[in-house]
Structure formats: structure tokens, C-alpha cells
């Protein structure tokens, strides 16, 4: 505990945590800045997507218009959906979470700041590449779902679809990295005493959202990789004649696509659950109910993807089951809605501008949810699927469920971003224009769909009854656009004319209001311990105590950026997390990855290869600048009685980060194996060669080789945990060599096999599985070699055993991959047939 004047302390903290200006700003890794960058960039793409929507509505206002021809329209509507879903909705929600979560949890930053920075730059560069495609008139034009075979090479010969596949995958890196960050931060970097039960509800929502991203995005990443391989390298996955199945794309896409909509809705519902109790001036009703409802929604969402495919020709029995399952998700949603209503009912609500937007959210989202339940009913779905009715439904749930809470959140946290209060008058005008305009546009659209108008049609014939509804929708969309412009103007003006905000202007209960307004880069001079769910309501003096340095971790003389590392469930302090400072690495890696993306796009494979190598070098350098390396020595002064620095422990955030990342990786691999089994059992013209191209014994030997190496590593790690590091460098080097030998053997097996990926889907999938395995084994080998080198430098030893333990997880994962590949590719085919 340090006592001092807040200004002096601020000076000292600012020296360690401060953000540089000018072009050096690209080195900033602090979560507040990164979060704001996500929000601003997301806003930019929202406007871009909105302009595309205006073009669509202008085109559809009248029948038989040719203001845009079919080709242009197809690019515009594909980009509208793609931009809104990938470049606005998810980054915006993640950005807000990146900004808010550490503050709400009483921490100074997220646990892997460089990773969040990397996420942002990948998002920015990927988004710019994708946006550029529209200006080059080469934008993706196969719909945001990119169904095969339309998006396959024969029917989309241009580079348009490649823009989507490469650009979006690049952007998804940012989604997954932010998700890993958030999961580990929420689980391991909370305020001391903040048990799971005392965590703010928003943190539960974000934890669920992040886990859903971790498990839900990889199937799409896999699908994109497969489709791009099919387009660029001629491999066969979705081509019927060569043993593929276009419906596989739909399964992979919707395995992602259904969780995606909850990934967008849940954080917004979390915002509602945060703001509503503050304006009702009482804690939320049914905290436990809401947490269980949120997690249940997350779990269920992975099982429902088939309801987007009711008209594809799936078995009839499946439709009844999925109808029921899809409707069930209305229950946890209903629990949340009624919790909010009960909170208002039992509280003493006050009216402010955010409440207006929350009201709009309730009406529009509930309406959308109700049409969703209707859509889950199979016979009704068979009629309205792919009509304007669905377009209306999705806008109700997305705009109502995400956009309205977002605007409410912007108004609510504006004093936090800028230190000034928003104005009520213009905000009210903005709301009514948007609310009225939105309903005029999309309520009528349900009707248009029921009158039989399909979606994604660039024009329509007169006399089908669609003329008037479309005109009304288009007029409504212009009103809505004016409303949105009003809101934007309001927000901009407040930066100049807004009244200075008092501390905690809304009298909220969560810790983010304990920072200065706007917040300093380090959030809090000292980190609080909490003993209740509503820290600022229960202990009003907490804010002052924190600012005076009377709470925890107030030392800064050592020049380290630190925050508490706490237990996942009990919130007890386990370690001090030593956070990295500003660095060029994330920006540089993102830049090089853009070169990879562009190189692949224009088929300049030499450039792409060089860029991949450069990226690998940078990433390995990044992994080098860790732990003891940052200290320049092994003896690091910490105050007596303080917990250890994280890189001296066995179970720090890095281990969790690796674990969560491997979950994402595993989801991708599971989707790949699913694809294998699926094609085997469902593809209409699946071809199995008479003799398997794989050398069964060779594969078995390969798996055994890896097993030996992994078990050896396990022994080394067990010894490290016991505090013994005898011959550590030698052993790690030998294990690395063994791993690389196994990788070389695998490469040789691949080469020697008679695989012809371009000829059959069978061979193509095997090739991808083996390639995936190879990549992971090489990665583990190289990283272990690097570890041996770090032992040499003294960065890793029995006092700093952290990194090898983290790496061990990758080896176990690889072992699982290799053995399951053996079972799936070698043993399973031999069990098929016969008997």
C-alpha cells in the first residue's frame, strides 16, 4: 500500500503506462486505446455498410429498376451483409468488451495486450482489403453465405470470392484472438475477492460470447480454407463429381452461423443487463437465473444449425426434432427478458436517454424473437425461407437485439469515453427517427415476404403486389438513415459542447466508474479487493481509496506494468501478472500477414511465401520477448509477501491462453474430421480407392514416435514442477529434434503416398488432415527448440518453469491429433464394409 498524492502517483504510473503519440501510436497495446480503436473502426464500417443498404433500398424502391445492374447489386448486397456481420457487429461488441472488461473486473489491462493489438491491426487491414474490393468492382458477389457451388470456381471465376475467403479469414484472426484474451482475462485476472458469483453479469455474457467465438468461428475458418484450396489449388471438397458435397459447406457455415447470431446478441444483452439495474436503481432480479440462461443459450446454439437448412432435403424426422430444439432457445431468452421486466417493476426507474434506446431494444428484439419462433415451425419455414420475411426477421433481431443496446451503451458510457455528458434533446429526436424509420422499413417487409417476394433479387416485376410495400420500405429506410445521422451528429457535438461529467454520473455499481473520466491508461492507481457483487453501491468510499493508492498493487517504482492474477472460481490472488509494454511487433506481424493475404489473392505465391516466413520469424521473436527476457536477468525484486510474478508459476495466464487457443484449434480439427466422416457417408459420388494411399504401418510408427517424444516431455515437465531442472537444455533440445524427426517422417509419408488431392475429395481431405498435423508438429518442435535455447540464456529454469509447461499442452494436443487422424484415416476405412 502506498500513500501519496493522487497527482504524484498519476505521474509515476503514466511514465510506465503512458501512450505515445504520433506514428509511435502504432505500438500501443493498452486495452483502452485498442478498445476505442475497435469501436471507431467498427463505426466507420457501419456507415459503409449502411450506405450499401441505402443503395439496395434505392434500387428496390420501384419495380424493374436498372440503377444497379444484377452484377453490381449482387456485389452490393453481399458486401452489405458481410460488412455488417464481420466488420461491424462482432468487432464492435468485442471492442466494447475489450474496453470495459478489465475495468469492470478491477484490473489494469487484459492479460495478453500484444495479442489484442494484433487482433485490431488484423481487423483493420483485413477490412481495408475487403472494402477495397468494392472500389475495384471485384467485390464478393455470391451472397454473404457464399453457398457452393455458386462460390466455387466454375460459377465464380473471378477473384471476387477469394476476396471474401481470404479477407474474412484474416479478420477472423482478430475475433478469435480477442475471444481468447477475454476468456482468460475474465477467468484469471479479476479483483481479489471477486468470486464467480460476485462477477458483474456483463462478464458472464462476455465469457459466454468469447467461448462461443472460440468454438464457433473455426468451422467457418476451416470451410473458407477448404473452399479457397478448391478454388486456388483445384482440390475437391464441394464438387459432386469428384466425391464432394456442396451441402458440406452449408453444414460448416451454419455450424458457425447459428452461434454467430448469439455471439452478436449476447454481449448486447449483457449491456442491457448492466444498464437496466442502474436505471432501475436496484440489483437485477434473478442473477443466477440469468447466468444459467446465458450459458444455456451458448450451449444450445451449437446444436441448432440445421434449422437454416430445412429446405435442403434433410430427413423429415430431423426437421421435427430441430423445430422443437430451435424453439426451446426461446426459454432462456424469455428468462432474460422477464428478469429485466421484473427488475424494472421492483425498482424505482429513472428516465434518461439510454432508457429510450433500451425500450426500443425490447420492442424490436422481442418482435424479432417471436418471428424467429414462427420460423422454427417447419411447414411455415418451408414457405417463407429465403423470402423478405426472413430479411425482416433478421433485421429485427440484429438491429433490435444489437444496434439499439449499442446506442444505449454509447450514450451510457459517453461520459466514460470523453468525460462529458450527452444531451437529451437531440438524442430523443434521433431515437424516434430511427425507431419509426426502422419499423416502417422492416415491419412492412414481413408482408412483402408473405406476398411471395424472394430475397437477393436485384429487381422485381410490377403487378405482383410488391410495388407499394417496397416503396414504403425504401422511404422508411431513408427516415432511419436520417435518424442515425442525427445520433452521430449528437455524439460528435457532445465532444465539444457536452457538460463535464461528475464522477459516476449514473450512480452505477460496477467498477469501471471508479476510473478517472476519461480513464488513464492504467485504469486504477491501486486495485480494489471486492466483497460484494455491487462494489460501488456497497462501498462508496472505494473510489477515493483506490485513487489514493490505499488498495492493492500500488507500487510502480519497479517500472513494470502489473495486474493481479486470480483464481478462476474463488478470486483469490495467485500471482502478479507482468504485462508487456508498447511494442511494434503486433503491428508488424499484421502488416506482414496482409502481404500474405494480398499475395495469395493475386496469386503471387512467391511474395506470399516470403511473407509467411517473415511472419513466422516475427512471431517467434515475439515469443522470445517474454517472461525473464523482459527483466534482463532472473533476480527480480518484488515486495516481500507479494505473490510471485506469473512467469515463475506453473499455472499462469499463458497456460490458460494456450488451452483456450487449443480449444479453437480443436474445434477446427473436429470440423475437419466431421467433414471427412460426412463426405464418406453422405457425398453422392464418394470415391474410395481400392487400396488406401496411406502407409498404415508408417502412420502407426509416426504416431508412436510422437508418443515417445511427448511422454519424455511429460517427464521433464513433471521434474520441473518438482523443482528439478537437471539437463533441461539437453533434454528439451533432444525432444525438439525428435519432434522434428517425426515431422520429417510425416512429410516423407505424405510425399510417398499416392495422394491426388485434385482428383478426389477422399484424397483432398486426407491431404488437409496430414498438412494440418504436419504444421502443428513442426510448430511444437521449433518452439521446443527455442525453449532449449532460452534455457541456455537462463530465461527458463526451475525458478521460471512457466514456458515449457505452457508448451507441453501443445504436445498433448498434437498427440491427440495424430492418433485421432490414425483412427479416422487408417482404421475407420478398414471397418467400413464387410461384416
Amino acid at each position: 500500500m502506498i500513500e501519496g498524492r493522487p497527482d504524484e502517483l498519476h505521474q509515476q504510473f503514466d511514465e510506465v503506462w503512458g501512450n505515445p503519440r504520433g506514428w509511435r501510436a502504432a505500438t500501443i497495446v493498452n486495452h483502452t486505446r485498442i478498445g476505442l480503436l475497435f469501436l471507431l473502426t467498427g463505426l466507420g464500417f457501419f456507415i459503409f455498410g449502411g450506405l450499401l443498404a441505402m443503395l439496395i433500398r434505392a434500387q428496390l424502391a420501384l419495380p424493374d429498376q436498372t440503377f444497379m445492374d444484377a452484377d453490381t447489386y449482387n456485389q452490393v448486397f453481399t458486401m452489405h451483409g458481410t460488412v455488417m456481420m464481420f466488420l461491424f457487429a462482432v468487432p464492435m461488441m468485442e471492442g466494447l468488451a475489450v474496453y470495459l472488461i478489465p475495468k469492470m473486473l478491477g484490473a489494469r489491462d487484459l492479460v495478453f495486450p500484444r495479442l489484442s493489438a494484433l487482433g485490431y491491426w488484423c481487423y483493420l487491414f483485413g477490412a481495408l482489403i475487403l472494402a477495397a474490393s468494392l472500389f475495384l468492382e471485384l467485390a464478393p458477389d455470391a451472397g454473404w453465405f457464399m453457398y457452393t457451388p455458386l462460390s466455387s470456381l466454375p460459377y465464380s471465376p473471378g477473384v471476387n470470392s477469394d476476396f471474401w475467403l481470404l479477407g474474412i479469414t484474416f479478420v477472423e484472426i482478430s475475433a478469435v484472438t480477442a475471444a481468447v484474451e477475454l476468456v482468460v482475462a475474465i477467468l484469471r485476472a479479476r479483483a481479489p475477492g471477486m468470486t464467480l458469483q460476485r462477477m458483474p453479469l456483463y462478464a458472464w455474457y462476455i465469457l459466454t460470447m468469447a467461448m462461443m467465438i472460440v468454438l464457433g468461428f473455426p468451422p467457418l475458418i476451416l470451410g473458407s480454407i477448404l473452399l479457397e484450396l478448391e478454388r486456388a489449388a483445384g482440390m475437391a471438397f464441394f464438387d459432386v463429381a469428384r466425391g464432394g458435397d456442396p451441402i458440406l459447406w452449408q453444414h460448416l457455415f451454419w455450424l458457425f452461423g447459428h452461434p454467430e447470431v448469439y455471439i452478436i446478441f449476447l454481449p448486447a444483452a449483457g449491456l442491457v443487463s448492466t444498464m437496466l439495474p442502474v436505471f432501475a436503481r436496484r440489483p437485477i432480479v434473478g442473477y443466477r437465473w440469468v447466468v444459467v440462461a446465458v450459458l444455456t443459450t451458448g450451449f444450445i446454439s451449437f446444436a441448432l444449425w440445421v434449422h437454416h437448412m430445412f429446405t435442403v432435403g434433410i430427413p423429415h424426422l430431423a426437421q421435427a426434432f430441430f423445430s422443437a430444439a430451435s424453439m426451446l432457445v426461446a426459454i432462456p431468452t424469455g428468462v432474460q427478458v422477464f428478469s429485466w421486466l421484473a427488475t424494472l417493476w421492483l425498482g424505482r426507474p429513472v428516465y434518461h436517454v439510454p432508457m429510450l434506446w433500451l425500450f426500443g431494444f425490447l420492442v424490436i428484439f422481442v418482435a424479432g424473437g417471436l418471428t424467429g419462433v414462427m420460423l422454427a415451425l417447419v411447414p411455415f419455414n418451408w414457405q417463407v425461407h429465403d423470402t423478405q420475411f426472413v430479411v425482416a426477421h433478421l433485421h429485427y433481431v440484429l438491429v433490435g437485439g444489437m444496434f439499439f443496446p449499442l446506442v444505449a451503451a454509447v450514450y451510457y458510457w459517453l461520459p466514460h469515453f470523453s468525460g462529458r455528458m450527452p444531451s437529451p434533446r437531440l438524442g430523443r429526436w434521433g431515437f424516434w427517427l430511427v425507431f419509426g424509420g426502422f419499423n416502417l422499413t422492416f415491419l412492412v417487409m414481413h408482408w412483402t415476404g408473405l406476398l411471395g417476394m424472394p430475397r437477393r433479387a436485384y429487381t422485381y416485376a410490377p403487378g405482383l403486389g410488391w410495388d407499394t410495400p417496397n416503396l414504403v420500405s425504401s422511404i422508411g429506410s431513408f427516415i432511419m438513415a436520417i435518424g442515425i445521422a442525427t445520433v452521430l451528429v449528437d455524439v460528435l457535438l457532445h465532444f465539444r459542447f457536452g457538460v463535464r461529467a461528475a464522477p459516476n454520473p449514473w450512480h452505477a455499481d460496477t467498477l469501471e466508474w471508479a476510473t478517472r473520466l476519461p480513464p488513464a491508461a492504467y485504469n486504477f492507481i491501486s486495485l480494489p479487493s471486492v466483497d460484494s457483487r455491487y462494489p460501488l453501491w456497497d462501498r462508496p468510499d472505494l473510489v477515493k481509496e483506490m485513487a489514493r493508492g490505499e488498495q492493492g498493487l500500488a507500487a510502480i517504482a519497479h517500472g513494470r506494468r502489473e495486474t493481479w492474477g486470480t483464481d478462476a472460481v474463488t478470486g483469490e490472488v495467485r500471482e502478479i501478472i507482468h504485462l508487456p509494454g508498447n511494442t511494434w511487433l503486433p503491428f508488424a506481424v499484421a502488416l506482414v500477414l496482409s502481404a500474405v493475404c494480398i499475395g495469395l489473392l493475386v496469386k503471387a505465391y512467391a511474395v506470399a511465401s516470403v511473407a509467411i516466413v517473415a511472419a513466422a520469424i516475427l512471431v517467434l521473436r515475439w515469443s522470445w520477448e517474454n517472461g525473464a527476457h523482459e527483466e534482463g536477468g532472473t533476480a527480480v525484486p518484488i515486495s516481500a509477501g507479494d505473490p510471485p510474478l506469473h512467469w515463475r508459476t506453473h499455472n499462469g495466464p499463458g497456460r490458460w491462453g494456450m488451452g483456450v487457443t487449443l480449444l479453437a484449434d480443436g474445434a477446427l480439427y473436429a470440423a475437419l474430421l466431421f467433414g471427412w466422416f460426412y463426405l464418406w457417408t453422405v457425398a453422392p459420388q464418394w470415391q474410395v480407392p481400392a487400396q488406401s494411399p496411406l502407409d498404415a504401418r508408417g502412420m502407426l510408427a509416426n504416431a508412436l514416435l510422437l508418443t515417445v517424444a511427448t511422454l519424455w516431455l511429460r517427464r521433464v515437465l513433471a521434474a520441473l514442477r518438482r523443482g528439478s531442472d537437471g539437463r533441461l537444455r539437453g533434454q528439451l533440445a533432444a525432444i525438439a529434434a525428435l519432434g522434428l524427426l517425426q515431422s520429417a517422417h510425416l512429410l516423407w509419408l505424405m510425399h510417398a503416398s499416392g495422394l491426388v488431392p485434385k482428383a478426389t475429395a477422399h484424397d483432398a481431405v486426407i491431404a488437409v488432415v496430414l498438412g494440418y498435423t504436419l504444421f502443428h508438429c513442426v510448430l511444437a518442435g521449433v518452439a521446443t527448440g527455442l525453449q532449449a535455447w532460452r534455457v541456455h540464456y537462463g530465461y527458463v529454469d526451475r525458478a521460471a518453469p512457466y514456458e515449457p509447461i505452457v508448451l507441453g499442452q501443445l504436445w498433448y494436443y498434437n498427440l491427440g491429433v495424430v492418433w485421432s487422424a490414425y483412427f479416422a484415416l487408417v482404421l475407420f476405412p478398414s471397418t467400413w464394409g464387410g461384416g
Binding site: 436496484r282 447466468v291 444459467v292 430441430f322 430444439a325
Partner: protein, 269 residues
């Protein structure tokens, strides 16, 4: 005391008659696996009863145990077994009962204390190993998952159909791996690995159910109807999945309720 006796006798009685009927209907050697199953079940109950005299179980636990044994006996020795011979869907029902009803009920019954008391020092290493394994929900989930997928490979599945010894092995592995999984998840102390293990099991059983549902041909022989297989896949996917959902919800509910919720109301202003 009476309850404990009932919890032992009821399953035994339920088991005895149908099992005897099955065993005696065919020739005796063919009936051996079935008799062995009955024997295993009887041994489980018997040991439980003996151990219950030294370490009395709670009422709830005794009920779970009795229910697990009864349902298990019905599933394996009742008419369900006969229907399962010809119908993939009924076979799936039988397996689902074993994996998401008998196994978790057994786990909740926590019979290890009773079995340990009954066998004394003899099997102590066995119980110790099981206890140790039960601390790793993720590992248990992976073993359980491997067992499930291996037995659904066409050749293995048909092997079990044709040969009653393999069938017995299949059932034993399902119940044992399932028991360990559910025990590590429901009775474990750590919430995060437990929830994660349930989520992963939900996902992979869903994917397997999906494959069975969408398959274009019958995996397990031409004699079995495709639609039946589709229904089997759906049963595994949806009602099976529901069990995992319910378990996750219950775990979370229980964990969150353990601390008294501080009801703070902000000052009036």
C-alpha cells in the same frame, strides 16, 4: 436399513427373472454373457448392500443407486434388448439409457464408499485409481468419447450385434467410462473443467448423431432401415444432448447458489 435392503433386492429381483428366462431359452454357453451381466449387476448390488451396513448411504444416494440399477437391468434384460437387435433406433435408446441415465445416476449415488467398505483392503488400489482418475473431467470425457466413437464404427457395431461377448464388453465400457465421466463432472470440485467436459461431450455426440442422421446408406448392414438409423441419430443428438444441457445448467445453478447472494440496494437519491 429397510431402504438399503430394498435398494439391493429390487434390482436383483428385476434382474433375476428375465435374465433367467433369456439364459434358459437358448443353450447354456450362449447364455453365459447374459448370465455374466446379471452376475456383475448382482455383485454391484450385493457389495453395495454389504458396504451399506458399514457406511450407510444417504437417502438420496440410495435412491439414485436403486434407480440406476433398476433402469440398467431393464435396459439390458428387458424387452428393450430384444427390440434393439433389429432396430438401430431402439438400440440407440438402450445405449442412451446406459450412458445418460444409468451412468449419471450411478455417479450421483457415489457407491464407491459402500463398495470400498464391502471389499476392505482387497481392492483398495482399484478404488484409489478410480478416485484419482475422477479428478480429471476432461480426460474422462476424452476416454468416454473415444469409447463411444469406436463402438459406432461399422465393424465394431456389427461385431457387438453378432457376438454377445463383445456386446457385453461394449455395455461394460459404455457404463464404466460414462460413470467415470459423469462422476468427475457432477461430483468434481472444479467447475470450469466440468463445464468444459460437458460442452465437448455435447458437441462430439451431436456431431456423431448428425452423421447418423444424414448418412445416405445404412452403416450397420443392409438389413437395417435407413430411416431407423436417422431416428437413432436424432435420439442421440437431441434428447441425448438435452441431458448434457440439463447437467450443465444444474452444475452452474448449484455452484452459484453456494454463496449467499448479497442483496445490496443503492442509497435513495
Amino acid at each position: 436399513m429397510r431402504l438399503i435392503a430394498a435398494s439391493v433386492l429390487v434390482p436383483l429381483l428385476v434382474t433375476a427373472r428375465p435374465a433367467a428366462a433369456h439364459a434358459l431359452s437358448g443353450s447354456l454357453p450362449a447364455g453365459f454373457p447374459l448370465l455374466l451381466s446379471a452376475g456383475l449387476l448382482g455383485a454391484a448390488c450385493g457389495l453395495y448392500g454389504i458396504g451399506a451396513r458399514r457406511v450407510p448411504p444417504g437417502r438420496a444416494q440410495a435412491t439414485w443407486f436403486c434407480a440406476a440399477m433398476a433402469i440398467g437391468a431393464l435396459a439390458v434384460f428387458g424387452p428393450l434388448d430384444r427390440w434393439a437387435q433389429d432396430s438401430t433406433a431402439w438400440h440407440m435408446v438402450q445405449h442412451i439409457l446406459l450412458i445418460v441415465v444409468v451412468a449419471p445416476f450411478g455417479a450421483l449415488a457415489g457407491p464407491l464408499s459402500q463398495w470400498r467398505a464391502a471389499t476392505g483392503a482387497l481392492l483398495r488400489p482399484l478404488w484409489a485409481t478410480i478416485l484419482r482418475c475422477g479428478r480429471h473431467p476432461l480426460a474422462a470425457a476424452m476416454v468416454h468419447g473415444a469409447v463411444i466413437w469406436i463402438w459406432h464404427a461399422p465393424r465394431m457395431y456389427r461385431l457387438a450385434l453378432d457376438d454377445p461377448w463383445w456386446h457385453l464388453l461394449e455395455h461394460v465400457l459404455f457404463v464404466a467410462s460414462g460413470w467415470l465421466f459423469w462422476w468427475s463432472v457432477l461430483c468434481g470440485r472444479r467447475l470450469a473443467p466440468g463445464l468444459l467436459a460437458i460442452l465437448l461431450t455435447l458437441i462430439h455426440t451431436g456431431l456423431l448423431g448428425a452423421l447418423l442422421t444424414f448418412g445416405r446408406v445404412s452403416f450397420y448392414g443392409d438389413g437395417r432401415a435407413l430411416e431407423d438409423q436417422q431416428l437413432a441419430g436424432l435420439i442421440m443428438w437431441v434428447p441425448g444432448g438435452f441431458a448434457y444441457l440439463a447437467a450443465a445448467g444444474w452444475l452452474l445453478w448449484r455452484r452459484l447458489g453456494e454463496e449467499t447472494a448479497p442483496a445490496a440496494v443503492p442509497a435513495r437519491d
